[in-house]
């Protein structure tokens, strides 16, 4: 690192043969290695004393190096990296903004709270699923675009669902007394009693579907409790629980990469499918009410979209991979 310092305050832009400039740059790169030895320094001294052009070249390189040293450090490195991460995250979105033209409204509507994903213990991107073994041996699966914190302590086994959807297969607690197992959402908590179940965080609501055992729901703002049994589904917001529905599939089909629909309006179907892809899927009003039934793949959403055109009188237009419109044929 300790290269001879020949910095001068006035830098004249002299015509230096490019071969000599190149040699000066190579010396700089050698000194930057942090591993140059004394004989390298001696060879450098000999090169530098070859003539005035070498010295001019070295002076110019040193002017650059000292400006670089002025700013280089952990904080500026942090700045350059933070900015790049922010840009990378916005890039996909930006592509969309240029296409749509109505930038800001869309940006506000589609912006996902990225800090949640960064702060969360585990998260998945669009179209990604991930299985995690919990500290007690239970299994947690994250569906597409989801984020959770796992907070186990001596009194409670707690999963915080920040975003998206999870499936939980609980295990018997190895501690005594047995600690309760709880999934917290933005609207309240679901307490599991020896179960397999799914929790999904939507805008303002949480949906719980149980396939085995029993789950107790407790909205945040009221003293109300609802028990959901195997084969049932319920949703709740902060102030209350909605009536139960029967769900033969238990809402677990996504674990196998599938999505089921039973006379589902196309609009809802596409909104659901859109969770598994980057970008936007738009449904034209004229086809939004078409009913759809069947089993579809969420792993290959392009293929699912193509399959739709074979069973419904619709047309699919790709402006880009990230912007899909569905309209009447």
């Amino acid at each position: 690192m300790a290269a001879p310092d020949m910095t001068s305050s006035t830098i004249k832009v002299a015509q230096i043969p490019s071969a000599i400039m190149q040699q000066a740059l190579e010396w700089q790169v050698s000194f930057w290695s942090g591993e140059s030895g004394t004989d390298e320094h001696q060879r450098f001294e000999r090169w530098l004393n070859t003539g005035p052009q070498q010295q001019d070249a070295w002076r110019q390189v040193q002017a650059m190096n000292s400006r670089l040293n002025e700013i280089a450090g952990p904080s500026t490195a942090g700045a350059l990296r933070i900015k790049r991460q922010q840009l990378a995250r916005r890039r996909t979105l930006k592509t969309l903004l240029f296409i749509s033209g109505s930038g800001l409204a869309l940006y506000g509507a589609r912006r996902t709270p990225q800090w949640q994903a960064l702060a969360a213990d585990y998260h998945t991107g669009r179209g990604e699923q991930r299985e995690i073994t919990l500290p007690d041996g239970g299994r947690l699966t994250l569906n597409t675009d989801s984020a959770v914190d796992i907070a186990y302590d001596s009194d409670i086994r707690r999963i915080r669902l920040q975003r998206g959807e999870i499936h939980v297969a609980t295990a018997a607690d190895q501690q005594l007394p047995v600690r309760p197992f709880v999934v917290e959402t933005l609207q309240g908590r679901a307490r599991a009693i020896g179960t397999r179940f799914t929790v999904r965080q939507q805008d303002g609501r949480s949906i719980v579907a149980v396939s085995q055992g029993l789950v107790e729901l407790r909205p945040q703002d009221v003293d109300e409790v609802l028990l959901v049994k195997a084969g049932e589904r319920a949703s709740f917001d902060r102030s209350g629980v909605s009536p139960l529905q029967q769900t033969p599939q238990g809402g677990e089909e996504w674990l196998r990469g599938l999505m089921m629909a039973e006379r589902m309006p196309l609009r809802d179907f596409l909104a659901n499918l859109a969770r598994y892809r980057s970008g936007i899927v738009r449904c034209h009003d004229s086809v939004g009410e078409l009913a759809i039934s069947g089993v579809f793949s969420v792993r290959d959403t392009d293929q699912t979209l193509t399959a739709l055109t074979q069973i419904l009188p619709i047309r699919i237009t790709y402006a880009t991979r990230y912007w899909v419109s569905v309209s009447a044929r």
Binding site: L25, W32, S33, P74, S75, T76, A77, G78, L80
Partner: protein
């Protein structure tokens, strides 16, 4: 930005004055619609005309507005880059011990160079960028970088040679 000294009262100054009188208000309104901030719009309007004076040639009359908006757009991007970097840097400084925080004046100077480096990094391939940052900003030796990025020391050296050439072009000592 001492443009008065570098360009005496010539035909150019007269042309730019005319351009300024005709289009200044229009450009400011155009910018304000896009940015939504009166002060930024006024600043960028001013800088746009300064830039034309520094460039040394004014546009043909029928292209005046296209030319002005093109320059203004570039300046808007520059402003955005500078703000993002400044915010990111302050964020990063906030996590450091207090004695490392530079004065306001030093910050302005550093930010200037930081903007240049950032432009340079944008043009670099990702691997060279990562190598350069580890070496010059994190102070790693080439062997350490070679381990961190799983590339040979010879490759680290090759990347750094590319990076040093970009540095010469971007930090050539001129203000």
């Amino acid at each position: 930005m001492d443009f008065a000294a570098s360009s005496p009262a010539t035909a150019l100054t007269r042309e730019v004055s005319a351009l300024y009188c005709q289009h200044h208000d229009w450009l400011r309104c155009w910018l304000q619609r896009r940015i939504g901030n009166r002060f930024d719009a006024a600043d960028i309007t001013q800088d746009t005309f300064v830039r034309i004076l520094l460039n040394g040639h004014s546009p043909a009359p029928e292209q005046s507005r296209a030319h002005l908006t093109q320059i203004a757009k570039g300046l808007m991007i520059d402003m955005h880059r500078r703000r993002m970097l400044e915010t990111a840097w302050l964020e990063s400084l906030a996590s450091m011990p207090e004695q490392h925080v530079p004065s306001a004046e030093a910050r302005a100077i550093i930010l200037e160079s930081l903007v240049r480096i950032d432009v340079m990094l944008d043009d670099m391939p990702a691997k060279i960028r990562a190598t350069f940052l580890l070496s010059r900003f994190d102070g790693l030796t080439y062997s350490e970088i070679s381990t961190a990025l799983n590339i040979s020391v010879a490759t680290v050296r090759k990347y750094m040679l590319k990076a040093v050439q970009s540095c010469m072009a971007c930090l050539d000592g001129s203000p």
